[in-house]
Protein backbone atom coordinates (compact mmCIF):
# COMPACT_ATOMS: atom_id res chain seq x y z
CA UNK A 1 0.00 0.00 0.00
CA UNK A 2 2.74 2.38 -0.83
CA UNK A 3 2.66 4.48 -3.93
CA UNK A 4 0.96 7.69 -4.77
CA UNK A 5 -2.59 8.71 -4.03
CA UNK A 6 -5.08 9.21 -6.82
CA UNK A 7 -6.70 12.31 -5.39
CA UNK A 8 -5.44 15.02 -3.03
CA UNK A 9 -7.86 17.55 -1.59
CA UNK A 10 -6.45 20.51 0.34
CA UNK A 11 -8.33 23.12 2.33
CA UNK A 12 -11.45 22.90 0.27
CA UNK A 13 -14.20 25.35 1.20
CA UNK A 14 -17.51 26.18 -0.38
CA UNK A 15 -19.56 29.12 0.83
CA UNK A 16 -23.09 29.90 -0.32
CA UNK A 17 -23.10 33.63 0.35
CA UNK A 18 -22.25 33.82 4.04
CA UNK A 19 -23.49 30.31 4.74
CA UNK A 20 -20.88 27.56 5.00
CA UNK A 21 -21.38 24.56 2.71
CA UNK A 22 -18.14 22.88 3.70
CA UNK A 23 -14.93 24.35 4.97
CA UNK A 24 -11.22 23.52 5.22
CA UNK A 25 -11.58 19.91 4.17
CA UNK A 26 -8.38 18.04 3.33
CA UNK A 27 -7.85 14.37 2.53
CA UNK A 28 -6.06 12.05 0.14
CA UNK A 29 -7.48 8.97 -1.52
CA UNK A 30 -5.42 6.03 -2.75
CA UNK A 31 -6.28 3.56 -5.52
CA UNK A 32 -8.50 0.77 -4.20
CA UNK A 33 -9.53 2.77 -1.15
CA UNK A 34 -13.12 3.50 -0.15
CA UNK A 35 -13.71 6.64 1.90
CA UNK A 36 -17.10 7.19 3.54
CA UNK A 37 -18.25 10.70 4.36
CA UNK A 38 -20.92 10.59 7.04
CA UNK A 39 -23.02 13.17 8.85
CA UNK A 40 -26.59 14.37 9.11
CA UNK A 41 -28.41 16.28 6.40
CA UNK A 42 -26.96 19.74 6.19
CA UNK A 43 -23.54 18.67 7.46
CA UNK A 44 -21.94 19.54 4.13
CA UNK A 45 -21.15 16.04 2.92
CA UNK A 46 -22.97 16.33 -0.41
CA UNK A 47 -21.51 19.80 -0.98
CA UNK A 48 -18.07 18.30 -0.47
CA UNK A 49 -18.83 15.46 -2.87
CA UNK A 50 -20.10 17.88 -5.50
CA UNK A 51 -17.00 20.06 -5.17
CA UNK A 52 -14.56 17.17 -5.38
CA UNK A 53 -16.36 15.74 -8.39
CA UNK A 54 -16.25 19.23 -10.01
CA UNK A 55 -20.02 19.49 -10.20
CA UNK A 56 -19.64 22.57 -7.99
CA UNK A 57 -16.85 25.15 -8.05
CA UNK A 58 -15.38 25.57 -4.54
CA UNK A 59 -14.86 29.03 -3.02
CA UNK A 60 -11.27 28.16 -2.18
CA UNK A 61 -8.96 25.19 -1.99
CA UNK A 62 -7.44 22.68 -4.35
CA UNK A 63 -8.33 19.18 -5.54
CA UNK A 64 -5.59 17.49 -7.49
CA UNK A 65 -6.08 14.31 -9.48
CA UNK A 66 -3.49 11.93 -10.90
CA UNK A 67 -4.53 11.55 -14.53
CA UNK A 68 -4.04 8.32 -16.49
CA UNK A 69 -0.86 9.81 -17.96
CA UNK A 70 0.42 10.14 -14.33
CA UNK A 71 0.34 13.95 -14.45
CA UNK A 72 -1.20 15.71 -11.49
CA UNK A 73 -3.82 18.30 -12.44
CA UNK A 74 -5.79 20.72 -10.30
CA UNK A 75 -9.37 19.77 -11.15
CA UNK A 76 -10.52 23.38 -11.08
CA UNK A 77 -7.97 24.34 -13.74
CA UNK A 78 -9.29 21.79 -16.24
CA UNK A 79 -11.23 23.01 -19.25
CA UNK A 80 -14.92 22.14 -19.44
CA UNK A 81 -14.13 19.58 -22.17
CA UNK A 82 -11.43 17.95 -20.06
CA UNK A 83 -13.75 17.71 -17.06
CA UNK A 84 -16.51 16.18 -19.12
CA UNK A 85 -14.10 13.64 -20.55
CA UNK A 86 -12.94 12.70 -17.05
CA UNK A 87 -16.55 12.35 -15.89
CA UNK A 88 -17.40 10.06 -18.79
CA UNK A 89 -14.33 7.84 -18.68
CA UNK A 90 -12.14 7.76 -15.58
CA UNK A 91 -14.86 8.64 -13.08
CA UNK A 92 -18.29 7.43 -12.17
CA UNK A 93 -21.02 9.22 -10.26
CA UNK A 94 -23.79 7.18 -8.66
CA UNK A 95 -26.73 9.37 -7.68
CA UNK A 96 -29.15 8.58 -4.89
CA UNK A 97 -32.00 8.83 -7.36
CA UNK A 98 -31.19 6.58 -10.34
CA UNK A 99 -33.32 8.81 -12.58
CA UNK A 100 -30.63 11.50 -12.16
CA UNK A 101 -27.94 9.22 -13.52
CA UNK A 102 -29.87 7.28 -16.15
CA UNK A 103 -31.71 8.16 -19.31
CA UNK A 104 -35.13 6.83 -18.47
CA UNK A 105 -36.49 6.68 -21.99
CA UNK A 106 -33.76 4.70 -23.70
CA UNK A 107 -33.17 0.99 -23.22
CA UNK A 108 -31.09 -0.54 -20.43
CA UNK A 109 -28.56 -1.71 -23.01
CA UNK A 110 -28.26 1.78 -24.49
CA UNK A 111 -27.81 3.30 -21.02
CA UNK A 112 -24.74 1.14 -20.57
CA UNK A 113 -23.59 1.33 -24.21
CA UNK A 114 -23.77 5.12 -24.26
CA UNK A 115 -20.79 5.44 -21.93
CA UNK A 116 -18.79 3.13 -24.20
CA UNK A 117 -19.68 5.18 -27.26
CA UNK A 118 -18.57 8.29 -25.37
CA UNK A 119 -15.09 6.82 -25.19
CA UNK A 120 -15.07 6.08 -28.89
CA UNK A 121 -16.38 2.54 -29.21
CA UNK A 122 -18.40 2.26 -32.45
CA UNK A 123 -18.74 -1.49 -32.89
CA UNK A 124 -22.42 -2.27 -32.28
CA UNK A 125 -22.00 -5.99 -31.61
CA UNK A 126 -19.19 -5.44 -29.16
CA UNK A 127 -21.06 -2.65 -27.34
CA UNK A 128 -24.11 -4.87 -27.01
CA UNK A 129 -22.17 -7.84 -25.70
CA UNK A 130 -20.30 -5.65 -23.18
CA UNK A 131 -23.62 -4.15 -22.07
CA UNK A 132 -25.07 -7.64 -21.69
CA UNK A 133 -22.06 -8.72 -19.66
CA UNK A 134 -22.49 -5.75 -17.33
CA UNK A 135 -26.24 -6.29 -16.89
CA UNK A 136 -25.32 -9.80 -15.88
CA UNK A 137 -22.73 -8.58 -13.38
CA UNK A 138 -25.28 -6.32 -11.71
CA UNK A 139 -27.83 -9.16 -11.73
CA UNK A 140 -30.24 -7.80 -14.32
CA UNK A 141 -31.60 -10.55 -16.58
CA UNK A 142 -30.28 -10.38 -20.14
CA UNK A 143 -33.78 -10.38 -21.61
CA UNK A 144 -34.38 -6.93 -20.09
CA UNK A 145 -31.63 -5.36 -22.24
CA UNK A 146 -34.12 -3.70 -24.61
CA UNK A 147 -36.45 -2.47 -21.86
CA UNK A 148 -36.47 1.09 -20.63
CA UNK A 149 -35.49 1.67 -16.98
CA UNK A 150 -38.87 3.40 -16.50
CA UNK A 151 -40.28 -0.11 -16.13
CA UNK A 152 -37.60 -1.23 -13.63
CA UNK A 153 -37.93 -1.37 -9.84
CA UNK A 154 -35.90 1.04 -7.70
CA UNK A 155 -33.28 -1.57 -6.90
CA UNK A 156 -32.91 -2.59 -10.56
CA UNK A 157 -32.58 1.03 -11.63
CA UNK A 158 -29.84 1.55 -9.06
CA UNK A 159 -28.00 -1.55 -10.29
CA UNK A 160 -28.34 -0.32 -13.87
CA UNK A 161 -26.90 3.04 -12.86
CA UNK A 162 -23.94 1.23 -11.34
CA UNK A 163 -23.39 -0.79 -14.53
CA UNK A 164 -23.54 2.39 -16.60
CA UNK A 165 -20.89 3.96 -14.39
CA UNK A 166 -18.51 1.04 -14.23
CA UNK A 167 -18.55 -0.07 -17.87
CA UNK A 168 -15.72 2.30 -18.82
CA UNK A 169 -13.47 0.92 -16.04
CA UNK A 170 -13.25 4.14 -14.06
CA UNK A 171 -10.57 4.51 -11.42
CA UNK A 172 -12.67 6.68 -9.12
CA UNK A 173 -16.36 6.54 -8.31
CA UNK A 174 -18.39 9.07 -6.34
CA UNK A 175 -21.57 7.83 -4.68
CA UNK A 176 -24.24 9.95 -3.06
CA UNK A 177 -26.39 7.84 -0.70
CA UNK A 178 -26.34 4.91 -3.15
CA UNK A 179 -28.71 2.81 -1.02
CA UNK A 180 -30.98 5.61 0.14
CA UNK A 181 -34.68 5.11 -0.43
CA UNK A 182 -34.43 1.35 -1.07
CA UNK A 183 -36.06 -1.46 0.91
CA UNK A 184 -33.72 -3.14 3.37
CA UNK A 185 -33.53 -6.42 1.44
CA UNK A 186 -32.85 -4.52 -1.79
CA UNK A 187 -30.21 -2.48 0.04
CA UNK A 188 -28.47 -5.61 1.25
CA UNK A 189 -28.23 -6.95 -2.29
CA UNK A 190 -26.91 -3.64 -3.59
CA UNK A 191 -24.37 -3.34 -0.78
CA UNK A 192 -23.07 -6.84 -1.42
CA UNK A 193 -22.82 -6.03 -5.12
CA UNK A 194 -21.02 -2.73 -4.54
CA UNK A 195 -18.69 -4.34 -2.05
CA UNK A 196 -17.62 -7.11 -4.39
CA UNK A 197 -17.33 -4.85 -7.45
CA UNK A 198 -15.23 -2.29 -5.60
CA UNK A 199 -12.78 -4.93 -4.40
CA UNK A 200 -12.70 -6.91 -7.68
CA UNK A 201 -12.05 -3.81 -9.77
CA UNK A 202 -9.78 -2.13 -7.22
CA UNK A 203 -11.86 1.04 -7.42
CA UNK A 204 -11.27 4.11 -5.34
CA UNK A 205 -14.55 5.53 -4.10
CA UNK A 206 -15.94 8.40 -2.09
CA UNK A 207 -19.31 7.43 -0.61
CA UNK A 208 -21.57 9.95 1.04
CA UNK A 209 -24.04 8.34 3.41
CA UNK A 210 -25.92 9.08 6.59
CA UNK A 211 -26.14 5.35 7.24
CA UNK A 212 -23.29 4.20 9.49
CA UNK A 213 -23.99 0.54 8.68
CA UNK A 214 -23.35 1.29 5.00
CA UNK A 215 -20.13 3.06 5.93
CA UNK A 216 -19.03 0.10 8.05
CA UNK A 217 -19.73 -2.39 5.31
CA UNK A 218 -18.22 -0.55 2.37
CA UNK A 219 -15.49 1.79 3.54
CA UNK A 220 -11.92 1.49 4.75
CA UNK A 221 -11.76 4.99 6.17
CA UNK A 222 -14.34 7.51 7.15
CA UNK A 223 -14.75 11.22 7.79
CA UNK A 224 -17.47 12.55 10.07
CA UNK A 225 -18.82 15.97 9.10
CA UNK A 226 -20.75 18.49 11.14
CA UNK A 227 -21.59 22.09 10.24
CA UNK A 228 -19.41 21.88 7.13
CA UNK A 229 -16.28 20.67 8.91
CA UNK A 230 -14.63 17.28 9.24
CA UNK A 231 -14.71 16.72 13.01
CA UNK A 232 -13.31 13.20 13.13
CA UNK A 233 -11.58 10.92 10.63
CA UNK A 234 -9.80 7.61 10.64
CA UNK A 235 -10.08 3.89 10.11
CA UNK A 236 -13.78 3.05 9.79
CA UNK A 237 -13.97 0.48 12.59
CA UNK A 238 -11.90 2.69 14.90
CA UNK A 239 -14.19 5.69 14.41
CA UNK A 240 -17.33 3.57 14.87
CA UNK A 241 -16.12 1.46 17.83
CA UNK A 242 -14.06 4.10 19.64
CA UNK A 243 -15.55 7.46 18.64
CA UNK A 244 -13.81 10.43 20.25
CA UNK A 245 -15.83 13.50 19.40
CA UNK A 246 -19.09 14.25 21.21
CA UNK A 247 -20.99 14.41 17.93
CA UNK A 248 -19.56 11.11 16.66
CA UNK A 249 -20.46 9.46 19.96
CA UNK A 250 -23.98 10.79 19.58
CA UNK A 251 -24.24 9.46 16.01
CA UNK A 252 -22.92 6.02 16.95
CA UNK A 253 -25.14 5.74 20.02
CA UNK A 254 -28.18 6.68 17.96
CA UNK A 255 -27.98 3.57 15.78
CA UNK A 256 -30.92 1.28 16.36
CA UNK A 257 -29.87 -2.24 17.32
CA UNK A 258 -31.74 -5.06 15.66
Amino acid sequence: MTGEPLLRVSNLSKLFGSRIGCTEVSFALWPGEVLAVVGESGSGKTTLLNCVSTRLEPTSGVAEYRMRDENWRNLYDLSEAERRFLMRTDWGFVHQNPADGLRMTVSAGANVGERLMAVGDRHYGRIRSTALDWLNRVEIAGDRIDDEPRGFSGGMRQRLQIARNLVTSPRLVFMDEPTGGLDVSVQARLLDLLRSLVSELGLAAVIVTHDLAVARLLSHRMMVMKDGRVIEAGLTDRVLDDPREPYTQLLVSSILQV
Partner: protein, 235 residues
Protein backbone atom coordinates in the same frame (compact mmCIF):
# COMPACT_ATOMS: atom_id res chain seq x y z
CA UNK B 1 17.68 -11.91 22.47
CA UNK B 2 15.20 -12.54 19.71
CA UNK B 3 12.98 -9.61 18.80
CA UNK B 4 9.39 -10.19 19.93
CA UNK B 5 6.76 -10.21 17.18
CA UNK B 6 4.55 -8.01 19.36
CA UNK B 7 5.77 -5.53 21.94
CA UNK B 8 3.33 -3.37 23.90
CA UNK B 9 5.05 -0.48 25.68
CA UNK B 10 3.57 1.86 28.25
CA UNK B 11 0.12 1.92 26.67
CA UNK B 12 -2.62 3.97 28.32
CA UNK B 13 -6.27 4.34 27.45
CA UNK B 14 -9.24 6.24 28.84
CA UNK B 15 -12.71 6.62 27.44
CA UNK B 16 -14.29 10.06 27.59
CA UNK B 17 -18.05 9.69 27.50
CA UNK B 18 -19.34 12.97 26.13
CA UNK B 19 -22.93 11.82 26.37
CA UNK B 20 -22.40 11.32 30.14
CA UNK B 21 -21.27 14.91 30.73
CA UNK B 22 -17.73 14.10 29.73
CA UNK B 23 -17.25 11.36 32.31
CA UNK B 24 -13.73 9.98 32.09
CA UNK B 25 -13.42 6.23 32.34
CA UNK B 26 -9.82 5.08 32.76
CA UNK B 27 -9.26 1.67 31.18
CA UNK B 28 -5.57 0.81 31.48
CA UNK B 29 -2.31 2.55 32.32
CA UNK B 30 1.32 1.58 31.78
CA UNK B 31 0.62 -1.62 29.87
CA UNK B 32 3.80 -3.39 28.87
CA UNK B 33 4.43 -6.97 27.68
CA UNK B 34 5.92 -8.88 24.79
CA UNK B 35 4.87 -11.88 22.75
CA UNK B 36 7.50 -13.95 20.99
CA UNK B 37 7.26 -16.34 18.07
CA UNK B 38 5.86 -19.72 19.08
CA UNK B 39 4.23 -18.66 22.33
CA UNK B 40 0.71 -18.02 23.48
CA UNK B 41 0.32 -15.27 26.04
CA UNK B 42 -3.00 -15.13 27.84
CA UNK B 43 -4.48 -11.97 29.30
CA UNK B 44 -5.79 -12.70 32.78
CA UNK B 45 -8.01 -10.85 35.21
CA UNK B 46 -11.69 -10.58 36.06
CA UNK B 47 -14.37 -9.24 33.71
CA UNK B 48 -14.11 -5.50 33.38
CA UNK B 49 -10.34 -5.44 33.88
CA UNK B 50 -9.89 -4.30 30.29
CA UNK B 51 -8.77 -7.52 28.60
CA UNK B 52 -10.99 -7.22 25.53
CA UNK B 53 -10.31 -3.50 25.29
CA UNK B 54 -6.59 -4.20 25.32
CA UNK B 55 -6.96 -6.77 22.55
CA UNK B 56 -8.90 -4.22 20.50
CA UNK B 57 -6.13 -1.66 21.04
CA UNK B 58 -3.54 -4.13 19.81
CA UNK B 59 -5.65 -4.63 16.68
CA UNK B 60 -6.09 -0.87 16.14
CA UNK B 61 -9.83 -1.10 16.65
CA UNK B 62 -9.58 1.13 19.73
CA UNK B 63 -7.18 4.05 19.70
CA UNK B 64 -4.69 4.53 22.55
CA UNK B 65 -3.82 7.73 24.39
CA UNK B 66 -0.16 6.93 24.94
CA UNK B 67 2.46 4.26 24.36
CA UNK B 68 3.58 2.03 21.52
CA UNK B 69 2.26 -1.17 19.99
CA UNK B 70 5.19 -2.48 17.98
CA UNK B 71 4.66 -5.23 15.44
CA UNK B 72 7.38 -6.90 13.41
CA UNK B 73 6.03 -6.12 9.98
CA UNK B 74 8.10 -7.29 7.00
CA UNK B 75 11.17 -7.35 9.23
CA UNK B 76 10.62 -3.80 10.50
CA UNK B 77 9.17 -2.73 13.85
CA UNK B 78 6.01 -0.78 13.03
CA UNK B 79 4.07 1.17 15.66
CA UNK B 80 0.41 0.42 15.18
CA UNK B 81 -0.55 2.98 17.83
CA UNK B 82 0.55 5.87 15.63
CA UNK B 83 0.22 4.26 12.18
CA UNK B 84 -2.02 5.85 9.54
CA UNK B 85 -5.26 4.03 8.70
CA UNK B 86 -3.69 2.70 5.51
CA UNK B 87 -0.78 1.19 7.39
CA UNK B 88 -3.12 -0.34 9.98
CA UNK B 89 -5.04 -2.01 7.14
CA UNK B 90 -1.78 -3.29 5.69
CA UNK B 91 -0.74 -4.64 9.12
CA UNK B 92 -4.07 -6.43 9.40
CA UNK B 93 -3.79 -7.90 5.95
CA UNK B 94 -0.25 -9.23 6.36
CA UNK B 95 0.84 -9.29 9.99
CA UNK B 96 -1.89 -9.29 12.62
CA UNK B 97 -5.06 -11.41 12.65
CA UNK B 98 -7.96 -11.30 15.08
CA UNK B 99 -10.64 -13.76 16.08
CA UNK B 100 -13.30 -11.56 17.65
CA UNK B 101 -15.91 -12.78 20.08
CA UNK B 102 -18.73 -12.20 17.66
CA UNK B 103 -18.93 -12.57 13.93
CA UNK B 104 -19.97 -9.50 11.98
CA UNK B 105 -21.81 -10.93 9.02
CA UNK B 106 -22.34 -9.37 5.64
CA UNK B 107 -25.66 -10.07 3.93
CA UNK B 108 -25.50 -12.62 1.11
CA UNK B 109 -21.83 -13.54 1.55
CA UNK B 110 -21.48 -17.31 1.97
CA UNK B 111 -19.60 -18.95 4.82
CA UNK B 112 -16.89 -20.18 2.44
CA UNK B 113 -16.37 -16.68 1.07
CA UNK B 114 -16.32 -15.15 4.56
CA UNK B 115 -13.43 -17.46 5.44
CA UNK B 116 -11.67 -17.21 2.09
CA UNK B 117 -11.74 -13.40 2.11
CA UNK B 118 -8.56 -12.74 4.14
CA UNK B 119 -6.69 -14.97 1.69
CA UNK B 120 -8.32 -13.37 -1.34
CA UNK B 121 -7.27 -9.92 -0.11
CA UNK B 122 -3.68 -11.18 -0.11
CA UNK B 123 -3.99 -12.23 -3.72
CA UNK B 124 -4.69 -15.97 -3.29
CA UNK B 125 -6.93 -17.35 -6.06
CA UNK B 126 -10.59 -18.12 -5.31
CA UNK B 127 -10.18 -21.84 -5.83
CA UNK B 128 -7.22 -22.25 -3.50
CA UNK B 129 -8.71 -19.92 -0.87
CA UNK B 130 -11.94 -21.94 -0.84
CA UNK B 131 -10.05 -25.22 -0.63
CA UNK B 132 -8.27 -24.01 2.48
CA UNK B 133 -11.55 -22.70 3.91
CA UNK B 134 -13.15 -26.14 3.37
CA UNK B 135 -10.30 -27.90 5.13
CA UNK B 136 -10.69 -25.71 8.21
CA UNK B 137 -14.46 -26.06 8.29
CA UNK B 138 -14.18 -29.86 8.23
CA UNK B 139 -11.57 -29.72 10.96
CA UNK B 140 -13.99 -27.62 13.03
CA UNK B 141 -16.88 -30.02 12.31
CA UNK B 142 -19.17 -27.44 10.75
CA UNK B 143 -21.82 -29.37 8.77
CA UNK B 144 -21.11 -29.20 5.06
CA UNK B 145 -24.64 -28.13 4.15
CA UNK B 146 -23.96 -24.79 5.92
CA UNK B 147 -20.86 -23.88 3.92
CA UNK B 148 -22.68 -22.25 1.05
CA UNK B 149 -25.05 -20.28 3.30
CA UNK B 150 -24.43 -16.82 4.77
CA UNK B 151 -23.68 -17.31 8.50
CA UNK B 152 -26.16 -14.65 9.71
CA UNK B 153 -28.73 -17.23 10.85
CA UNK B 154 -26.24 -19.71 12.35
CA UNK B 155 -26.19 -20.56 16.06
CA UNK B 156 -23.62 -18.95 18.35
CA UNK B 157 -21.33 -21.97 18.25
CA UNK B 158 -21.54 -22.24 14.46
CA UNK B 159 -20.78 -18.54 14.00
CA UNK B 160 -17.87 -18.84 16.39
CA UNK B 161 -16.38 -21.65 14.34
CA UNK B 162 -16.75 -19.57 11.16
CA UNK B 163 -14.95 -16.76 12.97
CA UNK B 164 -12.17 -19.08 14.10
CA UNK B 165 -11.73 -20.48 10.60
CA UNK B 166 -11.53 -16.93 9.21
CA UNK B 167 -8.82 -16.03 11.72
CA UNK B 168 -6.80 -19.22 11.27
CA UNK B 169 -6.97 -19.49 7.48
CA UNK B 170 -4.02 -17.12 6.95
CA UNK B 171 -0.50 -17.43 8.33
CA UNK B 172 -0.44 -14.07 10.10
CA UNK B 173 2.62 -14.01 12.38
CA UNK B 174 0.58 -12.43 15.19
CA UNK B 175 -2.88 -13.70 16.08
CA UNK B 176 -5.29 -12.25 18.65
CA UNK B 177 -7.98 -14.50 20.13
CA UNK B 178 -10.92 -13.11 22.09
CA UNK B 179 -12.52 -16.09 23.86
CA UNK B 180 -12.55 -18.28 20.78
CA UNK B 181 -13.95 -21.28 22.63
CA UNK B 182 -16.69 -19.57 24.68
CA UNK B 183 -19.64 -21.08 22.76
CA UNK B 184 -18.08 -24.41 21.78
CA UNK B 185 -18.73 -27.93 23.06
CA UNK B 186 -15.91 -30.02 24.53
CA UNK B 187 -15.10 -31.76 21.24
CA UNK B 188 -14.71 -28.54 19.31
CA UNK B 189 -12.83 -26.89 22.17
CA UNK B 190 -10.26 -29.65 21.84
CA UNK B 191 -10.03 -29.00 18.09
CA UNK B 192 -9.32 -25.31 18.72
CA UNK B 193 -6.71 -26.14 21.37
CA UNK B 194 -4.95 -28.32 18.80
CA UNK B 195 -5.21 -25.57 16.14
CA UNK B 196 -3.58 -23.13 18.58
CA UNK B 197 -0.78 -25.62 19.23
CA UNK B 198 -0.26 -25.93 15.46
CA UNK B 199 0.02 -22.16 15.15
CA UNK B 200 2.62 -22.09 17.90
CA UNK B 201 4.64 -24.81 16.21
CA UNK B 202 4.48 -22.79 13.00
CA UNK B 203 6.07 -19.86 14.87
CA UNK B 204 3.10 -17.55 15.32
CA UNK B 205 2.83 -15.26 18.34
CA UNK B 206 -0.59 -15.58 19.97
CA UNK B 207 -2.28 -13.28 22.44
CA UNK B 208 -5.64 -14.35 23.81
CA UNK B 209 -8.39 -14.25 26.37
CA UNK B 210 -9.66 -17.62 27.64
CA UNK B 211 -12.10 -17.82 30.50
CA UNK B 212 -12.28 -21.61 30.31
CA UNK B 213 -9.60 -22.79 32.76
CA UNK B 214 -9.00 -26.08 31.05
CA UNK B 215 -8.42 -24.42 27.69
CA UNK B 216 -6.27 -21.74 29.27
CA UNK B 217 -4.09 -24.33 31.00
CA UNK B 218 -3.72 -26.20 27.71
CA UNK B 219 -2.66 -23.25 25.55
CA UNK B 220 -1.03 -20.63 27.81
CA UNK B 221 2.73 -20.28 28.01
CA UNK B 222 2.45 -17.19 30.21
CA UNK B 223 -0.32 -15.19 31.78
CA UNK B 224 -0.24 -11.41 31.82
CA UNK B 225 -2.41 -10.10 34.65
CA UNK B 226 -4.30 -7.10 33.32
CA UNK B 227 -5.25 -5.89 36.82
CA UNK B 228 -1.60 -4.84 37.18
CA UNK B 229 -2.39 -2.11 34.64
CA UNK B 230 -5.49 -0.84 36.40
CA UNK B 231 -5.46 2.93 36.63
CA UNK B 232 -6.61 4.56 39.84
CA UNK B 233 -10.24 5.46 39.31
CA UNK B 234 -10.84 9.16 38.98
CA UNK B 235 -13.02 10.42 41.78
Amino acid sequence: MVTPLLSVRDVAKTFTMHLRDGAVLPVVLGVGFEVHAGECVVLGGPSGAGKSSLLKMVYGNYGVDAGQILLQHRGQPTDLATASPRVVLELRRDTIGYVSQFLRTVPRVTTLDVIAEPLRSRGVGREEAQTRARALLSQLNLPEQLWSLPPATFSGGEQQRVNIARGFVTDHPVLLLDEPTASLDAGNRAVVVEMIAEKKRAGAALLGIFHDEEVRAAVADRIVDVTAFAPRRAA
